[in-house]
């Protein structure tokens, strides 16, 4: 289950070729978008106490 079709996979590969090469580093990763544990730690302060991300 959750396997994408070969057609969709090919579309993604084609799209990747049109996008510039990029790389990421730690500073971008850490507060990427949301708390990484999504409340799994049980504290779930806004947004979540565990990783330090704040909406």
């Amino acid at each position: 289950m959750f396997k994408i079709t070969i057609e969709l996979e090919k579309e993604i590969i084609d799209e990747l070729e049109t996008l510039d090469v990029v790389s990421g580093d730690f500073s971008e990763l850490r507060f990427n978008k949301d708390c990484s544990c999504s409340g799994g730690c049980g504290t779930y302060a806004p947004a979540c106490a565990c990783c330090g991300y704040q909406h």
Partner: protein, 367 residues
Amino acid sequence: MLKPNLKYVTLIATEGCNLSCTYCYETNKSKRSFDVEETKKIIEHELVVDDGFDAVSFEFFGGEPFLEFEKIKLIVEWFKGKSYPKKFSFFAGTNGTLLDDTTKKWLLEHKDIFFLGLSLDGTKDMHDINRSNSFDLIDIPFFVQNYDNLVVKMTVSQETLPNLYEGVKFCHDVGFHAIRCNLAQGIDWTKNDNETILETELGKLIHFYLENPTLTVCSLLDYQLQNISFDLNGRIVKFCGAGTRMKVYDVTGEEYPCQYFLPLSIGDKSLDTKKIKFNDFIEIKDLDKMCQTCVGVSVCPSCYGANFAATGNIHGRDVSFCKLTKTIIKANSFFKAKQWELGQLKNMEKKDLKLLLNAILKIQSEL
């Protein structure tokens, strides 16, 4: 709003709780509670100490913190309006069952400094199975109407897993936006056909969110897959803030890396936690062998406290939980791919999109 240069200080207000949730990892509950004057000193210390942070979120935790509402009130009112080198706010995660009219009035009067999170495990049936038949004691409209960004924490047990989709949909239907949904940590997930059930429920959720693209996706399908595309030279970022940007003071004023390491949770084993050194990075070579080659390692929601409680090693993961996590990561990759196919990721920056699409292909081929 506070900036990311923020530390989280959890204050255990009480070791007691009026509920007895099936998955609760706090196995040594008692009637002990914190001392108001000692807690004020802890808060003052955290606000003036030169530790590189410029803001603090203080969280009242339990047990159920509202069992000690009178003490919480005294503390918050003491600090409200005072000025310190660090900005600060207060927060309490609650089971929502003890908020009478007086409490609600006070909460609304202090909304600028005191935030709430609610534990709600889905529909009435789901919630009641997990959380001591307490659904009817929660004034859901109070939370929905007064707290726009309130985070609902929906914990999934083996008993409620077959209704996962229904539970998430219920939370959306009653008006919540931020749904932090996770599988209960520290319980035995090996029984039953959990993997198949989880697949079915995630499939329904994916369909639901693709049909309703304006909804905020629950955390179970909002893994930051882009992180898989980062090359961090043999390291991963520590999954949570335990022992680095997060600390917990228990009712005696003793400090621990997070609430899972408290005597309240793991009894005498907590003595050993003082020796653990936490860093922002983890060397992949220090992880379990099975994790070292796993494509999902940088998004895996590994709970160091649950690991430690189960294996005595903060990196020693539970294999049954690992299987389910892989299913979730695969579902995330499928969901994101479908979102992209349907044009639902058009607002994503190109750089982010490239990282995401790379990650999708990696997961699809390796997991």
